[in-house]
Amino acid sequence: MQWEIVIGLEVHAQLSTSSKIFSGASTAFGAEPNTQADAVSLALPGVLPVLNKGAVERAIKFGLAAGAHIAPRSIFARKNYFYPDLPKGYQISQFDQPVVGCGQLTIQVPSTGSGRTDEKVVRITRAHLEEDAGKSLHEDFHGMTGIDLNRAGTPLLEIVSEPDMRSAAEAVAYAKSLHALVRWIGICDGNMQEGSFRCDANVSVHKPGTPLGTRREVKNLNSFRFLEQAINYEARWQIETLENGGTIQQATVLFDPDKGETRVMRTKEEAHDYRYFPDPDLLPLEISEEWKERVRATLPELPQARQARYVSEFCLPAYDAGLLTASREMADFFEASLNETPGQAKTCANWLIGEVSAQLNRDGLDMAQCPITPQQLGGMLKRIADGTISSAGAKEVFRALWAEGGEADAIIEAKGLKQVSDSGAIEALVDEIIAANADKVAEYRSGKDKLFGFFAGLAMKASKGKANPAQLSEILKRKLAG
């Protein structure tokens, strides 16, 4: 029987507040060390935490977007452990009464080979608010460790999933979906290089129908690629270990991207005993129905709702609608382009999913950095729709728009890309070709249908590629028939 891989993810999303979760120090990234470490971040004696309303609001937003229960009352707890970048000796987190309860996320998993996706629902167990720790620098400080507490106290939302994923691909699809969602609702900038979105993966293997295996937790994966590699390596390692008669010990492991392997950080015996207890410095957090509804009113239309609308309103295939709603920037771009050329949803979708995405990829840009505007793209699509340019001509217009900017109409004019749709001109051109190739015409008429392409090629060439292809084909067919 095949092994089944079981994966649950814990994601730390850094909330996009300007100040820290329990103090008024700035959270801006990249500042000089400790210039944003105020008395609370440093845990100086006598300081008290005061909860940031903006952080709570973002947690509510997430809960609503994930269709989750928002706790009317939640509790902050102390998670106790010793490390120099945690100067209080405990992290303020939430334990048995988190702000966000059970929810779910619908994800699109690429099905192998088909270029399509399968829908899957991943349950979210909970999401809780907590503070980030500082940063330890182990480089050369005369054998000492340097501590930067700028990051200490940065608000995080830890989002915990149920062990619902069965492959690295599913885990990546979930992480990407979650990443898109937190950015979509504007609670996290999603910058993975800067650590704004970090994943821990709980991985175990078992034979279906038997109890779940012992899990090992892979910590701190800060890219989707590492997430995928780490899970694949870890699952393979566990399967090999079990097949060789070994057993899996519960452990926390680190992924080494250079070696592409995981190694043990600590085992269950060495595991921390965090001794959680309610933080007496913080009172229970109450969220009223009224506050919840006020936050709900600020939520944008969510990706899934938009996807459904694109299918029902624009008759797009679900696959296209899924790709268009992969990020809010993409979806907004699509709608703004479509505004320029209503009724051309499918063409618009094809260009965005095709040329635009491919070009962004080649240039290493994301949608927010796209050099052309929806108005520019829409202007071009309009000219495809009204027959002014052929699809070959459109590609040329697109290249020019991308490289030099400008407007589609001016480029069409300057490059002489206007299609010939004047039937008189096309007929004259076809007549000439027929006259010059009498022998081939005879062959065609005696049943060699394949020659049609030969004539079409000649005619298109004679028009310098500008003839309206549909029209050309129609005239050619008629004239060749004699």
Binding site: A25, E32, Q36, D38, L51, N52, P84, M144, G146
Partner: protein, 95 residues
Amino acid sequence: MSLSIDDVKKVAQLARLAVTEQEAQTAHAQLSGIFGLIEEMRAVDTSGIEPMSHAQDVVQRLREDKVTEGNQREMFQQIAPQVESGLYLVPKVIE
């Protein structure tokens, strides 16, 4: 529920407190006294009463999300035993 001397030593270790055998004995006696008190309270019928997480029945007040603290690094670092390049230096720790 009774507390063993080993429990006391474990808690001390978790709290990074060095305790002598004598201190452990003293702490054991004191903590056992507290446990006795807790046992007594557990005898009270609290069914139907919502547990409290705080001694006062009030709720958390929230701050507006505004940056109110500027850079006071120089002042804070005056009391630090050792600093360099803006960092606080501590004995080397690598997990």
